[in-house]
């Protein structure tokens, strides 16, 4: 099998001493980012991305993706010990993780969380190893119309799978596209929407948007909640780890089901957060004792953690093969690839073998290193959380400002970061989703380019989007996704007696 050979080659690329060192640095930074409320995976990577520009792209992506794994691991620590989800995908972990900690089973809950994260990620990486080359081979025959169709599917899935009102999902997405269009048009060289203001010539950088929306916005939200850290002590004893591991094989079905949910939600751009909730919900529904959930049931920790990690990892599959990220963090990594001059998509597998397979190999290694790091350093992170928010918050603001400034060495970007921060706060409060906004900002240029090229081929006729079975099928699927909330509304409207108000269609 080609894949095995390529993977072994990837290991030889990833397993150099500097790469291992950056892996360790990445995981540690990632756990820190995951642990601190107000700093997310996407935001952390966005802040650190400019620092990696001078590195070789393989080393840089290894470090950045390790930050991602670290952040996925780190979220569980605060959820279990403090009932504070450091990341949105750790919310479901708090339901049973925190009660376990209250009952004095914190070490058991943490071991279960880390191990299930590891299992979820491992399955997803195996999936990437064997599926990505096939998908890339298939996608290599794609023309502009097929690419646009896949991008359309990505965006329509957001509308179909989001819990937010569809009009708001579309509005957020279109705002992203509109911001992406600002600046010089790369085809005609014409200036668009700059209104004679020079800093707008380079357009809106997605990194600034991410830092503002997620970093500053999250601080404002956290401030509103008036956080006080009151946590449980955690010391991970090798004996507890061992005894917990012995009980885990019993839950093989939960692992399998959660991995499947996670992988599916990661590849379609559902993301880690809905995956964790869905997996938790299904685990409870399928359980023989559904009432024990929420009271410290270990399955309630296993299910969301496995799914979140599987989703977070498999989100990189469409990013690498099609150039379409399955999560906001994958979108930031994609932006990094573009900055390093690499064109994500099927050709990456042909032209940048070292890079792709080095990254895939680092996913295996990164998760093993991650598991080791988090299992050994929990008391340190728990101690770190005793630092009050009045110290952490301004430090995060300083880090965000530095991150925003370093992108283009421009003060305008720092101001913009603050504006995006307020926007992020308002959007979150008013249920406008942020992920489609960021995704549209990252993919806007690419989507426009493939749409334009398709139009050029067809001389302006939209019929190119159903000119063959493949493109027609993808566009059809996209339209079904787009109309999904509508179907839900119609269905509930038909089923209800006339005086009842129509219920919100919930597709996820």
């Amino acid at each position: 099998m080609d894949e095995i050979g390529n993977l072994l080659h990837g290991f030889s690329v990833a397993l150099t001493l500097p790469n291992l060192g950056f892996m360790l640095v990445g995981i540690t930074l990632g756990v820190l980012i995951g642990v601190l409320p107000g700093l997310g995976g996407a935001n952390g990577i966005a802040i650190l991305l400019p620092l990696t520009l001078s590195m070789n792209p393989t080393t840089a992506i290894i470090m950045l993706s390790c930050i991602y794994w670290g952040a996925l691991f780190g979220g569980a620590i605060t959820s279990i010990l403090f009932n504070i989800p450091g990341e949105p995908w750790s919310v479901a972990t708090t339901f049973d993780g925190y009660p376990m900690a209250q009952q004095g089973r914190a070490a058991q809950a943490l071991t279960a969380a880390f191990t299930s994260s590891f299992v979820g990620a491992l399955f997803a990486v195996v999936l990437i190893t064997f599926l990505a080359p096939l998908l890339a081979k298939f996608a290599i025959r794609f023309g502009p119309a097929e690419f646009f169709a896949v991008q359309l599917l990505t965006f329509c899935s957001f509308v179909g799978m989001s819990k937010e009102p569809p009009a708001k999902v579309i509005a957020a997405m279109m705002l992203g596209f509109a911001l992406a269009a600002v600046g010089m048009d790369s085809v005609t060289g014409q200036l668009r929407m700059t209104y004679g203001y020079p800093p707008l010539l380079k357009g809106f950088d997605f990194l600034i948007a991410v830092i503002g929306l997620f970093g500053i916005g999250e601080i404002l939200l956290t401030m509103e909640e008036g956080l006080a850290f009151k946590g449980k002590h955690a010391k991970i004893d090798p004996k507890v780890v061992w005894s917990t591991w012995k009980t885990l094989p019993r839950h093989w079905l939960t692992f399998l089901r959660s991995t499947a949910i996670g992988c599916w939600m990661g590849i379609t751009p559902g993301g880690a957060t809905p995956a964790s909730f869905m997996s938790y919900g299904i685990a409870r529904r399928m359980s023989k004792e559904p009432d024990s959930f929420g009271k410290g049931q270990i399955e309630g920790v296993l299910a969301p953690e496995t799914a979140a990690h599987a989703a977070g990892t498999s989100a990189l599959l469409p990013m690498l093969t099609l150039g379409i990220p399955g999560s906001p963090t994958a979108a930031v990594l994609l932006g990094g690839l573009l900055i390093w001059g690499l064109q994500p998509g099927p050709m990456l597998f042909v032209e940048q073998k070292d890079f792709v397979w080095g990254l895939i190999a680092s996913m295996y290694l990164g998760n093993i290193v991650g598991l080791f790091v988090v299992l050994t350093t929990v008391p340190f992170w728990a101690a770190m959380l005793r630092i009050p928010f009045s110290v952490i918050a301004p430090v995060i603001v300083v880090i965000c400002a530095i991150g925003a400034y370093t992108v283009h060495s421009s003060m305008f970007d720092v101001v913009l970061m603050l504006v995006f921060g307020v926007l992020g706060y308002l959007f979150k409060k008013l249920r406008y989703p942020l992920a489609p906004l960021v995704l549209a900002l990252v993919l806007g240029d690419m989507a426009e380019a493939s749409f334009r090229q398709s139009m050029l081929i067809s001389q302006g006729s939209l019929s190119i989007f159903w000119s063959n079975g493949l493109v027609g099928g993808i566009v059809g699927l996209a339209l079904v996704m787009l109309c999904w909330p509508l179907l839900g509304t119609v269905k509930s409207w038909l089923q209800r007696p006339p005086p009842a108000a129509p219920a919100e269609g919930n597709a996820s």
Partner: protein, 171 residues
């Protein structure tokens, strides 16, 4: 910002979400109008060599107008109906208590450089919100900029904005 009280909320002073909802959707409608007019300016049709610069953004603008417009109209139509809580007044006060210093900080970076501004921001937060003593406040607010300097300017060779103090010290 949004200082509209929710009159029918009995439980404590809170701000209803109808004004923020209306303002945000109206802003988005405004952005849509900007996008559409600019797309018309650069041309939204077909030139000899293919689609013009405004071809794609024009439709983006239209969809943005339709989606945000529908949110705005929906909000206006339900104006007299229920007004879900956007935030408690005290919550908004805490948000502003962070937002205003952040704004001053961003302005301060341009005048004082990032190090002095960061020192002031951290010191302000620790004294005002954390009620720390001068020693702890001084130690943390001096240490963080020093670590930032070591990591960014020394290790990663990234130049950060500097102010009069740095030029005085010759850094």
């Amino acid at each position: 910002m949004e200082e509209n009280p929710g009159p029918q909320d009995a439980a404590g002073p809170s701000v209803g979400s109808r004004w923020p909802e209306a303002i945000v959707s109206a802003l988005l409608v405004g952005v849509a109008v900007l996008v559409i007019t600019d797309s018309l300016r650069v041309g939204n049709g077909w030139a000899d060599d293919g689609p013009q610069s405004g071809y794609f953004p024009f439709y983006i603008g239209l969809i943005l107008l339709a989606s945000s417009g529908s949110v705005l109209i929906g909000t206006l139509l339900k104006w007299r109906g229920e007004n879900p809580v956007f935030a408690e007044r005290t919550q908004l006060a805490s948000v502003l208590a962070v937002l205003v210093p952040m704004g001053v900080y961003v302005g301060g970076i341009a005048w004082l450089g990032i190090y002095v501004a960061s020192f002031l921001l951290i010191a302000y937060f620790m004294r005002r919100h954390g009620k720390y003593g001068w020693t702890a406040t001084g130690a943390v607010s001096v240490a963080v900029p020093l670590v930032v300097y070591a990591v960014f300017e020394r290790w990663f060779l990234v130049l950060l904005p500097k102010g009069p103090l740095e030029s005085l010290l010759g850094v």
